[in-house]
């Protein structure tokens, strides 16, 4: 693989595989909690929604869910790109785009939760 100018996957491959599973296991309870909670709070007005997000367990669970989901998504999208994109430079570009968008998405969601929990009175 190193001949292709591609990083040696002997270690990163196992690492990737392990984190994909670890985040998957964490997401089983987190995602079920998320769907049930969103369903229960769908009709909330702004005050009620903010109050809900502000409670400490909800803030912690929401932050955990967002970080885990964006990391899991990044790992999954990476595997799909690596499996189906043949050209190394195109693949690099796509992987850069996947990483950038998932990092931005993760940061944006964490910031939004932080604003709701700590800044909105």
């Amino acid at each position: 693989m190193s001949k292709l100018g591609w990083p040696d996957t002997a270690n990163t491959g196992t690492h990737h595989w392990w984190w994909q599973r670890a985040t998957a296991i964490c997401l089983i309870p987190l995602s079920i909690w998320f769907v049930i909670s969103v369903l229960a709070h769908m009709n909330d007005d702004h005050t009620a929604a903010v109050e809900w997000i502000k409670s400490i367990p909800v803030t912690i669970l929401l932050l955990s869910f967002m970080v885990t989901v964006f990391y899991h998504a990044r790992l999954g999208l990476q595997v799909i790109a690596e499996d189906y994109v043949h050209d190394t430079s195109t693949l690099r570009l796509i992987l850069f785009f996947i990483n950038a968008s998932m990092i931005l998405g993760g940061l944006a969601s964490v910031s939004a939760i932080a604003v709701i929990s700590f800044i909105i009175p």
């Binding site: 693989m1 999208l77 499996d83 189906y84 693949l91 939760i113 709701i116």
Partner: protein, 129 residues
Amino acid sequence: MDKTPLSPHLQVYRPQLTSVLSITHRATGVVLSVAGTAIMLYWLIATAFGSETYSAAQAILGSLPAKIILFGWTGAFYYHLLNGVRHLLWDTGWGLDLPTAYKTGYGVVIFSILLSISTWAYALQGGIV
């Protein structure tokens, strides 16, 4: 040579339940990663900006086209969740034989449909959506 190894091209194989479910796992993963996170982010950011943007987001997400998209999201979510558990069981070495792989495959499809319908039946009947 500047090419990486590739996965088999999907179109050269006769579709089988197992391969269709496998590609569906990836497809639902992409949908959840892209559209799912986008909707979540939109809702969170709208909430962070204040009550006006929040009400606007609630109105958009409560509209009929959005409900149809969210129903699709629910289906993709349950499928990816259940089939993900199937994958994790495979990782432990369980259920890899063909008869079991078929049984769990049908189970995943049936239960993701049932769960999606019951989630929305519950929400609609309870006046949540």
